[in-house]
Symmetry: D2
Amino acid sequence: MSSSTGMIFSVSTFGESHGAGVGAVVDGCPAGLLLCESDIQGQLDRRRPGQSDLTTPRSEEDKVRILSGIEGGKTLGSPILLVVENEDTRPGDYSETIQTPRPSHADYTYRMKYGVSSSSGGGRASARETVGRVLGGSVAEKLLSDKHGIEIVAWVSSVGEIDAADVSVKDMVRTDVDKNAVRCPDSAAAVEMESAIKAAREDGDSLGGVVTCVCRNVAVGWGEPVFDKMEARLAAAMLSIPAAKGFEVGSGFAGTRMRGSAHNDMFVKKGDVLGTVTNRSGGIQGGITNGEPIVMRIAFKPTASIAATQKTADYHGGPAVLELKGRHDPCVLPRAVPVVEAMAAIVLADMSLIAD
Amino acid sequence: MSSSTGMIFSVSTFGESHGAGVGAVVDGCPAGLLLCESDIQGQLDRRRPGQSDLTTPRSEEDKVRILSGIEGGKTLGSPILLVVENEDTRPGDYSETIQTPRPSHADYTYRMKYGVSSSSGGGRASARETVGRVLGGSVAEKLLSDKHGIEIVAWVSSVGEIDAADVSVKDMVRTDVDKNAVRCPDSAAAVEMESAIKAAREDGDSLGGVVTCVCRNVAVGWGEPVFDKMEARLAAAMLSIPAAKGFEVGSGFAGTRMRGSAHNDMFVKKGDVLGTVTNRSGGIQGGITNGEPIVMRIAFKPTASIAATQKTADYHGGPAVLELKGRHDPCVLPRAVPVVEAMAAIVLADMSLIAD
Amino acid sequence: MSSSTGMIFSVSTFGESHGAGVGAVVDGCPAGLLLCESDIQGQLDRRRPGQSDLTTPRSEEDKVRILSGIEGGKTLGSPILLVVENEDTRPGDYSETIQTPRPSHADYTYRMKYGVSSSSGGGRASARETVGRVLGGSVAEKLLSDKHGIEIVAWVSSVGEIDAADVSVKDMVRTDVDKNAVRCPDSAAAVEMESAIKAAREDGDSLGGVVTCVCRNVAVGWGEPVFDKMEARLAAAMLSIPAAKGFEVGSGFAGTRMRGSAHNDMFVKKGDVLGTVTNRSGGIQGGITNGEPIVMRIAFKPTASIAATQKTADYHGGPAVLELKGRHDPCVLPRAVPVVEAMAAIVLADMSLIAD
Amino acid sequence: MSSSTGMIFSVSTFGESHGAGVGAVVDGCPAGLLLCESDIQGQLDRRRPGQSDLTTPRSEEDKVRILSGIEGGKTLGSPILLVVENEDTRPGDYSETIQTPRPSHADYTYRMKYGVSSSSGGGRASARETVGRVLGGSVAEKLLSDKHGIEIVAWVSSVGEIDAADVSVKDMVRTDVDKNAVRCPDSAAAVEMESAIKAAREDGDSLGGVVTCVCRNVAVGWGEPVFDKMEARLAAAMLSIPAAKGFEVGSGFAGTRMRGSAHNDMFVKKGDVLGTVTNRSGGIQGGITNGEPIVMRIAFKPTASIAATQKTADYHGGPAVLELKGRHDPCVLPRAVPVVEAMAAIVLADMSLIAD
């Protein structure tokens, strides 16, 4: 069941990059939630290829169709099937990878594990698989928003060597994030990032970066001790996104350099409950949410599929020169933003129902 | 089932820090594995409190007893119950936390979630819970070692601001790691780290740091696409350890600053199979192991329980001054090493049986 | 995840009786299996409404479409999405159940549990949900047949008071089962059953019965001790079918009336392995298959939706007279046969991969 | 994880019949439940060997010890470890089964599956494994009783050819069930059953029978559609008990002989909610509880381990004459009663928390 995640609110994705379509089944969504295609289409559009000149030119409308689980605009409590048909598939683009696996891609490991390969694109390792995540995540987000008023916002905080200035995790909204194609709220940094991405593309090369994500208005008490700690679930969700190489919550790696007396978040009365003065815990203490915003950062490596010539080996170990023709993003970061939000939403929805 | 992890090879831990005992049940371990208490005691001793003057003075023998699943020195394929009795419990040490939750600890969130609290220590959020992880991990490690020749070695690569020099992930062994009490193979850095930890303790303060872990001789093809990618499972396992705040695999956060052409691991013939020239992938491509060493780094925050006075709030929101008397590690890093190894072993054992 | 079953080979079904379509996602099917629509269509046709004058006149072509997981006629190891569009939906047929729940149907419990109801038919409690089971079961069956030579055959062994004579579980094949519309291999009994079903329909009434199912060529060693015993999994699978009220394996309830000396299956050499002289164990001993045929019987109650007038209560507790207009089978048994086979296949496929 | 059951309220059992001990870990029990050893000991005593002259003479005190999860007489929400040490083990009793597998027992299938065998008794297939079930079930029962007022009562309704007269499922209580050693509330039948059991033992033989179980005061709305229907979960739980061969709920197999008009349970106002006039549904409609008592019957085959001479084959297929010396129950039914109650409680507790 490697394509399913979640215990109560579960999302199962399906579909190959160059097959008939991609999508997701959401099971365990409570009945009575108002839900229609337009609740989902927004995030799909933010994930869509071809949305700006920074992304792959592959052209996909990515229109979602709901086949089950809804009647009269409300969820029935039954599985919700969400399908997006593929349109602009070009399996032929990948002929050069039949003999030679792409470096740092899944071609080699898939071939070794399964014996057969999807002849086109990365099959289930393709970025197109993330359509299913966004579909499931949008349902999760609607549930979290309607029932708990939760807001989930992610943005690009670095691309290559360019770091955005600090962003207020309290106030950032998606419309601000979307003010530029890079999805970096620091507009000065965004301009630099955009140039860097275009330069990399010119060189047939690619860039990585970091996405920051904040979840606000999360209730106290979500997350389970020991192995299902909130941060453990979030880490798994984020590291399951293609190209993700790192995860940190709250103070993360930087916090390891502080002393405890400086790092500890002192409690303080906030309304009727306790809050903390600082939030180095990132909204989670002992694996359980404490009501402060959950803040996390996810590292994405530079896209493995690059146009530049690569001297590598073919499947038999012989020397090979690889020149890829497929259409790829020179930097996944802008389109990773809604995917990170989707994964956060899926985890929170599940943990909210477990904690209920 | 928040205290269980693993789908085929599963480990369920139990026990409170100041109750009768702690331990684990391992289910799904194949029959016929040679296993006895001494296979487990070694890692328990490395995790044991009181092993050096850098750790908590709490004195626990931590002798494991196997109650089921073994006959004639071999596993039966049935659940293996492993119990360690608690000896040096002092619940009274925690009386000051009844009114005031420790900052950045689980006291507050546990109280809010469960209504009751373990009156003593952190209950299931205590570091003592990790005994169960080491028990389960030692069984996993025996299986991986006997069946696949896998070696798992972790060490301390930073404490506070002090970084160890680069360590060869190819050759490092546990005896080298254990040459000093800090468990840092760079002996010059280790001396500095030791001083820093002692200085922090003097000040009633604490330090964080980073553990690096390498898994060698892992077969090609372990890990499942999409949500059960090897790095996703490892990330969840590591972030479930108390005080962990970050995880990275291979090039991690640093890799986000490289271009794809510099980052990609070129393939090359290694014996009968393909290997890679570099290993920025950290042994995993597309979520599936590629035969190169798995390399990961885990961030641990400074210990939250410190002796120094903390100005915080009590459960009612009133101002409170907290002075803790419990016995705590000024730095969890040296004892986190076998826990990280245990979690890596548990994940690998499970993924190996899923891939079979 | 109540619409998913299976740990390694998992089947998730979706779809409402009177929505856009129904179907299943199969995850965990090994790569490289030859599979196309025609491998699935056969059992769908045996389950299809309107196939004989004994079944509901609802007319559905029930043509399966595979959207993912297959390329070049082979499975990729990725999730297989199987969809059947609904055609002859008549939600209006169910208007009389808005005020008054059907006796012995799911209307009342669904309304109480979910607050909302599918306005038409039984929603997920409808027999139409079993399309997804047959889809998933057909993939499972192809895997079991190609890899292990397993044969699964079910038939109707009683309808109402009419019992079929004993049928040889060793030789029965589906073509023999399908020689009459009732799917009872005892043709004399079949004639009586057919008359009884038609008579019940004339009276606006319905009949129940028993399906027997045999699985041949099952390997030794499938099934897991304690809670995942083969018979436990099979019992759950069968009792999850709409209208199922009982399950027995091997000697079942009748065996409780024997003494142990008469009941025990003595071992005997069969080729290179042990077999048993008799098979009162039904192919399973201690929860694990022993190589003899698995034989089980499943009880189905008479269809709850009947045309005859029923004096019952409406949702408010007031007296109500219910006269149903929807199209229903007077006896589910003939169409239950492929559903029972599908559930057996799903369980065996999963247990075979767990045991691997 | 074949020794674990339950999704939210989970019970994992461990221990060999002739090892150091047996027991269970209960995870997911809500915090704040009053619980102590005496809440558990009662059912253990009803399951204990040697409690009457109808059972095996093996002498076990079966005293439970709680090692974790409880403080101050209340559950903490953390895993509860329950251990019963074995005392009267006689591994030597089983020497005759080293060469020759017991007919209709798990000896052969375990040997084939695991390669090694527990040298003594049935290992995990032994009836002693059910101690863990009763431990977990007693915790579940305390939760169901305290929180929902649920009553679970089982009794022996047939032994061999002797059937008890109908028993009122509405009023039966355990003290009535325990009025005789057979645990059959029809005292006339009980006398006959007792004689029959003793006669079978005299002959070195054994008897089977049927246990009926009722669960009263179950809320409306427990059980999940499609694969986790309440009856599916109960069927799996009951068929996982050693020697169980059949399960029926409500009208069961007998109901298949009725017409729908006679079988349907008409609704009627009962207080503020709907009830049904009859209860052929056995308290479950569409897989979801309807508030009426859950009634089920479980078939147990005659004990496979008998003293009488059996002509069978040894592991190599050669002819063998088996004469067993181990201590076995001539009829498991009286001791199966608390095990059936335990399994019912475990399923209900889990489903209650899923439905919450």
